[in-house]
């Protein structure tokens, strides 16, 4: 299940950037996009490890952190879409 849904985002993310940018800026913007992504990837696993260590080996806090970060990401994406075309269900 996790593989199914995460894979779709990973392949769509650069296309997202390409859709909201001018053709000249796509490369530069994708560079900045990947910088942000890399900081997230860098810090996420150690934070999860620290949470697990604090909970003495239980994985529930780690699962909670993972789920909450995905939910927050979803909320910010909806906000970005709302800023671009408004909150209706119309197509971009």
């Amino acid at each position: 299940m996790y593989g199914l849904f995460s894979g779709s985002f990973i392949s769509l993310a650069p296309t997202l950037v390409a859709q909201i940018s001018d053709i000249h800026e796509i490369g530069t913007r994708q560079g900045i996009f990947f910088v942000f992504q890399s900081f997230g990837a860098l810090t996420g696993s150690p934070i999860a490890g620290a949470i697990t260590a604090r909970q003495h080996g239980s994985f529930s806090g780690l699962q909670f952190f993972c789920g909450v970060s995905f939910l927050m990401s979803m909320a910010v994406h909806i906000l970005a879409r709302g800023k671009l075309v408004g909150m209706s269900a119309a197509r971009v």
Partner: protein, 166 residues
């Protein structure tokens, strides 16, 4: 270089810095090339391209689990490297960029101007949050499965299963 490292800083330098420079260069070139050739079916093409990484994610863990007991860690890494070398040779011969290359002067301000666009900066923050959580299951699922009582031989196949579904 990882195959001959035995201290932490050597592994950090070889795997964490040199290998990532190379792999990110290859990845960005291939991405830019694929995106420049397609307009209508760009997402479709990019999805096929990224599925290659999932295929690698299926093959590599199983390959390394089978090879390490047989040949030891250094030679396993060298075998994987030779495999990657062969595949990269094919890629180097076949990847072409459609748009003519125009070297632009390096300008830090041009990198930062994108952040002023609110939609783009919100998308960046959203992807940061997404990647915060993304690699946690990949790193911890085997540990959690073994803690929950799954047999070690079966638990090793969880990572290839996740990557296969991607």
């Amino acid at each position: 270089m990882i195959s001959i490292s035995d201290r932490y800083y050597q592994i950090f330098l070889s795997q964490g810095i040199v290998a990532t420079f190379g792999s990110s260069a290859v990845f960005n070139c291939c991405t830019a090339s694929v995106l420049s050739w397609f307009k209508r079916r760009r997402a479709y093409a990019f999805g096929i391209m990224v599925s290659g990484s999932s295929l690698g994610g299926v093959i590599m863990p199983i390959m390394m689990n089978k090879l390490i007991p047989r040949f030891g860690f250094p030679w396993t890494i060298r075998i994987v490297t030779f495999m990657i070398l062969g595949l990269l040779a094919i890629a180097a011969c076949t990847v072409r960029c459609r748009l003519p290359l125009r070297p632009k002067p390096f300008n830090v301000a041009s990198f930062l101007s994108g952040i002023r666009d609110p939609v783009f900066s919100l998308t960046c923050v959203a992807s940061f949050l997404f990647y915060w959580g993304l690699f946690i299951p990949f790193n911890y699922i085997i540990l959690q499965a073994e803690k929950a009582g799954m047999r070690s031989e079966m638990a090793q196949y969880l990572l290839p299963i996740i990557n296969a579904v991607r």
